[in-house]
């Protein structure tokens, strides 16, 4: 019985984990791209001011 319970818990965990991990990876990439774009915009604005 304990083995069945543990197996079901593990299966449920994996079924939820895989899509949520993919989603988190997508969000990580989005955060990274936003930070990179924000840095570029800041840098460009600074250069414009200097010019």
């Amino acid at each position: 019985m304990a083995l069945v319970r543990k197996s079901l818990a593990l299966l449920a965990w994996l079924v939820i984990e895989i899509p949520t991990t993919l989603f988190v990876v997508f969000v990580m990439i989005k955060v990274y791209l936003e930070e990179r774009n924000s840095k570029r915009r800041t840098k460009r604005g600074y250069n414009v001011k200097r010019a």
Binding site: E17, T20, T21, V24
Partner: protein, 316 residues
């Protein structure tokens, strides 16, 4: 060797950065809220079993969330709590949280170096810290000081290096050219914690794993804002608070609006491989209950590799 000045500086920067970005509205995100629910489960059980009345968190922190939140559960259950930390900013932030929670009368805030505590020997029933041990290559002076001021118990809780979120978080630091300020990988393991506690002549009482939700451990990545933005674009709201007077309320019909309330999540589960204990009280959030049930039934071998946190309780 002890704690180096570079490590002290890194810890201070890490703590003060987190204080700066901490959500003042207590909306900490689902990961931190779930973590607080399951760690609070363990704390309630521990406090009852060990009759803890006077607790020191050193160095205190909030890590991913609100500063000074970690020890609140002990105070909610009657203990007096001392939070010590080298950062004024962290202590000020923590004081504001404790005032907001109506528990400031049970708390003392002390500024001091992590390994030079201004307390007499044997002052506290338990001394503990959360995700701080691993920040020191040689934590012996920290652990020795924790042992000195405790009259019986020392609890160390760390990140888990084996969790696969660690790998993703390292990539995040690398691509963002961010300083790695989370400490040493080799210290985020059971053998390292055991060694440090045994090195001070302490007797290990229990060790366990906690916080094993079925989603990636994102450490302190700022994902909350992106999730709010994404869901906001489809008319939904993303809000997670461990403690809120409007617990469970949702005015918006299409909102994924959720509050987890600390008092509503009084499970007596011990947060480790033994699974849920007796006297379980359900959270107001069905999802938290489901995830917690799954966590409590996971096999021990799996928990070790997917838990977000490891802990060991030791006795003098």
């Amino acid at each position: 060797m002890g704690i180096t000045s570079k490590e002290r500086d890194t810890v201070l920067r890490f703590i003060e950065r987190n204080v700066r970005v901490a959500p003042r509205d207590l909306d900490e995100g689902i990961g931190t809220v779930y973590e607080r629910v399951v760690i609070d489960d363990y704390f309630r059980d521990l406090q009852k079993r060990c009759n803890l009345k006077n607790i020191l968190e050193n160095p205190a922190d909030g890590v991913t969330g609100v500063p000074g939140m970690n020890s609140l559960e002990f105070a909610r259950n009657g203990a007096t709590v001392t939070l010590s930390n080298p950062s004024d900013k962290m202590l000020d932030g923590a004081r504001a949280v404790w005032v907001n929670q109506g528990l400031v009368d049970q708390a003392t805030f002390v500024k001091c170096p992590v390994d030079q505590l201004p307390f007499e020997d044997d002052t506290f029933d338990m001394v503990w810290n959360y995700c701080m041990f691993e920040r020191f290559k040689d934590p012996s002076t920290l652990v020795a000081e924790m042992k000195r001021v405790s009259n019986r118990y020392v609890l160390i809780m760390t990140q888990n290096v084996y969790n696969w979120g660690t790998m993703f978080h390292k990539v995040y630091h690398n691509i963002g050219n961010l300083e790695w300020d989370h400490g040493y990988d080799e210290q985020m393991t059971f053998p390292a914690i055991r060694k440090a506690l045994r090195g001070q002549g302490m007797h290990l009482l229990e060790e366990g794993t906690v916080d094993i939700p079925p989603w990636l451990d994102t450490w302190d990545m700022p994902l909350r804002g992106v999730l709010k933005q994404l869901l906001g674009s489809v008319g939904m709201k993303w809000e997670w608070k461990i403690s809120s007077p409007s617990n469970g309320s949702s005015n918006g019909h299409s909102h994924a609006h959720a509050h987890a309330h600390a008092h509503a999540a009084n499970d007596n589960g011990n947060g480790h491989a033994a699974g849920a204990g007796s006297g379980t009280r359900k959270s107001s959030l069905p999802m938290v209950n489901v995830v917690r049930d799954i966590e409590h039934n996971l096999p021990t071998w799996f928990r070790k590799y997917q838990a977000h946190h490891l802990y060991i309780l030791a006795e003098k």
